[in-house]
């Protein structure tokens, strides 16, 4: 997918005094990020001091057991929930203290979200679902329509443009959700278990689209249990108990080695 250069005047800003220096290579960076939920006198520390980084154009997967804080982390990074403490830097700008309204604008411009259950607007057509973010961000109807046509064609669902989301299969709905997330050419695509509700053939389609978006330079941060999805990433972060337990590049096992044959030990 085509990537747009950051517009002039949208360069990383100088950090506030006292903050760490902005790094031009990091798209997202967190420092000592903490998220605590308090309800009815019960305190749950979902995120306990997380330092992670996502480079420009990088694809990172976050894995970890249920309750390890993966989804919370993604939601906090996307401003859907406020951080309790610590820092979030997006494109060299500190964003953890932004208001709800400021986050909404930031998301519109820089963040695409994909969820496990698609979250499409059921009373709008597929086309309107995909065009809406661009219109909200100030695109003209013509620009929004062109971008929508381009994306739906690329994702192989251009014939569904006028359909209601509910008429589509799960896999098609997730493709629409992907198109919507990519409509504003976001700096980063945040995805929470995007294949969690799909069968294996629809999962393969989503894998293909993610692979293609990444090859086109799209930065992706994805929370997943699905090792097929994670295996596409440049790097996998393992979250455990609200902390980073592992953070490593994926190194394919040479095909000449026994790796694949090891799993496929057919007997008979």
């Amino acid at each position: 997918m085509r990537r747009r250069l950051p517009p002039e005047g949208d360069r990383p800003v100088t950090p506030r005094s006292g903050g760490p220096p902005a790094e031009t290579t990091a798209l997202i960076r967190t420092s000592k990020l903490v998220k605590v939920y308090r309800a009815d006198g019960v305190t749950v520390e979902a995120i306990r001091g997380v330092d992670i980084e996502l480079g420009i154009g990088e694809f990172v997967a976050i894995m970890g057991p249920s309750g390890s804080g993966k989804s919370t982390l993604l939601h906090v990074l996307g401003g859907l929930e406020p951080a309790t403490s610590g820092e979030i830097w997006l494109r060299g700008r500190r964003v953890d203290g932004l208001s709800t309204a400021a986050w909404a604008i930031l998301r519109r411009q820089h963040i695409g979200f994909v969820f496990q259950f698609f979250n499409l607007l059921s009373n709008m057509t597929v086309a309107d679902n995909v065009e809406l973010p661009a219109l909200l961000a100030g695109a003209t109807p013509r620009q929004a329509r062109r971008r929508r046509e381009e994306l739906l064609t690329e994702l192989g669902i251009s014939d569904k443009a006028d359909a209601a989301p509910a008429r589509l299969s799960g896999g098609e709905q997730q493709r629409v959700a992907l198109a919507r997330a990519l409509a504003n050419e976001p700096s980063v695509l945040l995805a929470d278990e995007p294949t969690g509700n799909l069968d294996s053939s629809n999962t393969r389609d989503v894998l293909r689209l993610l692979r293609r978006a990444h090859a086109g330079g799209q930065a992706i941060l994805i929370v997943t249990h699905d090792a097929r999805v994670a295996s596409l990433a440049d790097r996998v972060i393992n979250l455990f108990d609200g902390m980073v337990a592992d953070d490593a590049k994926i190194v394919p096992v040479p095909r000449t080695m026994n790796g694949v044959a090891d799993v496929l030990e057919l007997r008979g």
Partner: protein, 168 residues
């Protein structure tokens, strides 16, 4: 290796190299390519056991080739193999035993063991997803074999996660 060769020979007589090609073509790239030497050794043993017989076929421009065919005893053995239930899936016991025993002996840290094993699995998964993307959609056996390997590997990763939840 014995039964797949018998099964292929039940279809039609063949020589060793043809059997190797037939296995590769049927199961695709993900199938660990059978060693031709191993195929010849297996055929020789099957012949000693009376399950196949062979004869030399003269070739004009090349050395003779030895063509194998199934005997009635071979057909019977094959039938028995097809009808008996196959073993269940094997469990990755080597890693598990390492995971349990090595920390007891102070040889390793459990979290580190799990992290390096997870990285290894994901590296293999990368290969499998690439194979899957390259696989011919019309070639069901090859596609399903890759999918089977992916599902097993996913189960290994899920199991690793359960170990992480309970042991760390």
């Amino acid at each position: 290796m014995r039964q797949p060769l018998l099964a292929l020979l039940a279809k039609e007589p063949a020589h060793g190299y043809e059997l190797k090609l037939a296995l590769e073509q049927t199961f695709g790239q993900a199938y660990p390519s059978p060693n031709i030497g191993q195929i010849y050794v297996t055929l020789k043993r099957l012949e000693q056991d009376g399950l196949v017989r062979s004869e030399d076929v003269e070739q004009t421009t090349r050395p003779n080739k030895r063509v194998y065919e199934l005997t009635p005893a071979g057909r019977e053995a094959l039938r028995a193999w097809v009808t008996e239930p196959s073993d269940g899936p094997r469990v990755r016991d080597e890693f598990f035993i390492k995971l349990i025993l090595a920390p007891m002996a102070g040889l390793a840290d459990r979290m580190e063991l799990m992290n390096s094993q997870r990285r290894h699995y994901l590296g293999i998964m990368r290969n499998l997803t690439e194979l899957q993307a390259e696989a011919d959609p019309a070639d069901a056996p090859a596609r399903l074999l890759i999918e089977g390997a992916i599902l097993h590997l996913q189960a290994d990763l899920d199991w690793l996660e359960r170990c992480q939840e309970e042991l760390v």
